[in-house]
Amino acid sequence: MANGTAHDTMAEPSFYEPKGFMSWLLTTDHKRIGIMYLVTISFFFLVGGVFALLMRYELLTPEADFLSPHTYNVFFTMHGSLMVFFFIVPGVAASLGNFLIPLMIGARDVAFPKLNLGSYWVYLAGTAILFGALLQPADTGWTYYTPYSVQSQTDVVLITLGVFVLGFSSILTGMNFIVTIHKLRCPGMTWSRLPLFIWASYATAILQLLATPVVGITLLLLIAERTLGIGFFDPAKGGDPILFQNFFWFYSHPAVYIMVIPAFGIISEIIPVFAKKPIFGYKAIAYSSFAIAIISFFVWLHHMFVSGISETAAAIFSFLTMLVAIPTAIKVFNWTATMYRGSISLESPMLYALSFLFLFTIGGLTGVYLGALAVDVHLHDTYFVVAHMHYVMIGGTVFGFFGAIHFWYSKWFGRMFNELVAKIAWFFFFVGFNVTFFPQFFMGVQGMPRRYATYPAEFQTYHEISTYGSWILAVGVVIMFVNLIAGLFSKEKAPVNQYGSLSLEFTVPSPPPHENFKDIPTVTDWTYGYGKK
């Protein structure tokens, strides 16, 4: 290889080499594409967060005195759409997946580097449509339930079109990852040695391929309904509004796992390193990702227990919902057991991973409430659901994601952030998150419905606490972002292996050279060979 020797020295940290703005826009380097996803999704996370803060500010008082009800409705629609479709679904899988999958399996890039760039551009096209949608925002909620989404006077087509386009990006990325994992593993990287993050990414990619086309067609039907006047969801024309919910949740429930399974992978990578212990129950964790992925296609009706479905259907889906809790519980036990007799170091990635275990446990347990039919009737569409969902999505996915950014930061950027500041940011984020969302469980049990711009005065105390919490949370996020950005400009170079991991990506320089590995490595043991045999 002509330039294979250029990276033997770490003298010049040429950022994955080729220089100039265009070399980024047209890059096929999975690491750079990962960075571009990271930057884009971070942007949408912050914008979505601002919507959330404004809503929480409005909810300080029972009356609609800061935002009008219509504006409030628009804000929660935008918050949900941005966070779900533009941040969590594409982001965590695509940014981390892109950066890590080839490095972890000992490959030079993904299977289709050009297509990978294409996926990113499709994602950007989706976001471009989104900007249009922000100017003419919809007020339907991120679930776009018919018939309101057909009757609403706001522009529902633009935002759903944006989501539709994003779906393509998601499908192409998923396909790329599956082929990569199948075809490009380095010698010795057998299926039973694969890092669990790879297993998780594989399960996620399958979900992306199976579920995304269905939401694509659902949104297409909605768009056709609005623009062409077809009556699929309109009872006046013989259609069925519940059909939309069936279609939508058939995608969107598996999508929950598209969002959270990568985080399972992250936690499985972080805990062994900081406990210096092999992962406990490797096979159980790997298989349970697939069990969850498969079962997740057969639980969608649990979003519709009070929609008017039959008793039998409700019973079947309640039962299946309980089943999906089992592999999830097994994972939590496995991660906890991994720490037994370990040598535990509480650095910032580990703090995020441990928070994940606390918060995801709460998110999972409160899911059991909602799976139990009679209880769900009471709690459905209340703040209990809001809190549950955020405990899973933030407590699970976002904590895992932030942990991953801290864990692989040195590898990704070749620099280090300030560890003390990172811990302070984590503290604010953790405390703020719980103060924001824990009271919402109680509010929900007492009957506070979600998506309310105004509310009865008896709920005000809970709302006040929640709003104050959102400020603490925001402080944490700001400190974290500032710290991570400041780290890029630090003088000191990061070592090759910051935390003593045995995974392949920590055998290459930080940042890795453009082609990752000078010579394709050969693996002789699994990634989790910590401790004394």
Binding site: S68, P69, H70, N73, D139, G141, Y145, P147, Y148, Q153, P235, A275, K276, P278, I279, F280, G281, Y282, K283, A284, V306, S307, G308, E311, A314, S318, F319, M322, I326, A329, I330, V332, F333, M339, G342, S343, I344, S345, L357, F358, T361, I362, L365, V368, G371, L373, A374, V375, V377, D381, V445, Q446, G447, P449, R450, R451, T454, Y530, G531, K532
Partner: protein, 314 residues
């Protein structure tokens, strides 16, 4: 009774609460268990030196089987219990009194067996099972009374139902729980549970009649008449002088009204327009600020048509 639960005011509430309580006890137990292990491990096995020796433990089949089986059994038990209580909620007794519920953006209409109609006020008798037969005139809504632990979505073009027996006299809040547009959070109603005597009196009392109007098309005033029913104005504004929740439209145009802020205003086109689009801006004395804003709902043309219609009601 737990104080963090809403009031227990129907026959179904205890069943729901028992399952909820059971799940809570289990959840707290498992959460504390996991937390104890996490925190305990983090303290006990804290890294002392960079060269700590750790054992090579990759799994333990026995313990993995145990922690798979125990949660499975518990979860299936929770499922079964939840289903039993759910069946109860879904099986109305034969002797239940029927109330027809019409939900529309953004109000509730209740039609009783004796021809009475009420808007945003539901009257039921303590101790007597009642069945709601519900339909929507526009989008999805959901009938939710936390104190009764009942909830059911309401669909257009389809009837859904729920039932309960109120066990406590008093007034309870009814929410619309399924997002239904701009004034979703104002689509509230009160459930009045009356004792047998009070209910008998209410039953014989004078109900609230609905204004009715059938409309044709085109000329503004006639279009306005159509909108008057389609948009649900008739729920709160009569055209025959009857006082409902809002002022009657009869003879409204041109009169001078005293506002809650002390000002007096002559009802002209601009005041009507503002009152339709931003009803909370100026409220006539003696009325509550409950009307949903029609800004973004009605076009200028439609507002004009309504105003023209109101002008015709002398």
């Amino acid at each position: 009774m737990l104080s963090w639960l809403p009031e227990n005011a129907s026959n179904l509430a205890s069943g729901v609460d028992n399952v909820l309580l059971f799940v809570t006890v289990l959840s707290v137990f498992f959460f504390l268990l996991i937390s104890a292990f996490l925190i305990g491990f983090a303290i006990k096995y804290r890294r002392k030196t960079e060269h700590d020796e750790t054992p090579y433990i990759t799994g333990n089949e026995l313990i993995e089987v145990i922690w798979t089986v125990i949660p499975s059994v518990l979860l299936i038990f929770i499922f079964a219990w939840g289903y039993i209580e759910y069946r109860e909620m879904r099986t109305p007794p034969d002797n239940a009194v029927e109330v027809n519920v019409v939900a529309r953006q953004w109000l509730w209409q209740f039609d009783y067996y004796n021809g009475k109609k009420t808007i945003n006020e539901l009257y039921v008798q303590q101790g007597r099972p009642v069945r709601m037969v519900m339909r929507s005139e526009d989008v999805l809504h959901s009938f939710f009374v936390p104190d009764f632990r009942v909830k059911q979505d309401i669909l257009p073009g389809n009837y859904t139902q729920l039932w309960f027996t109120p066990t406590k006299a008093g007034t309870f809040e009814l929410f619309c729980a399924e997002y239904c547009g701009t004034s979703h959070s104002q689509m509230l109603a009160k459930v009045h549970v009356l004792g047998p005597e009070a209910y008998a009196i209410w039953e014989k009392g004078i109900g609230i009649d609905e204004g009715t109007s059938v409309a044709s098309t085109l000329p503004p005033a006639e279009q306005g008449a159509e909108l008057y029913t389609n948009r649900g104005c008739n729920a709160c504004h009569s055209i025959d002088g009857t006082a409902l929740i809002g002022p009657t439209f009869k003879g409204l145009f041109g009169i001078t009204e005293k506002m809650t802020n002390g000002k007096t205003i002559t009802v002209d086109e601009n005041y009507l327009r503002e009152s339709i689009l931003q009803p909370q801006a100026l409220i006539v004395e003696g009325y509550q600020p409950v009307m949903p804003a029609f800004e973004g709902i009605l076009s200028d043309e439609e507002v004009t048509a309504l105003i023209e219609y109101i002008k015709t009601l002398k």
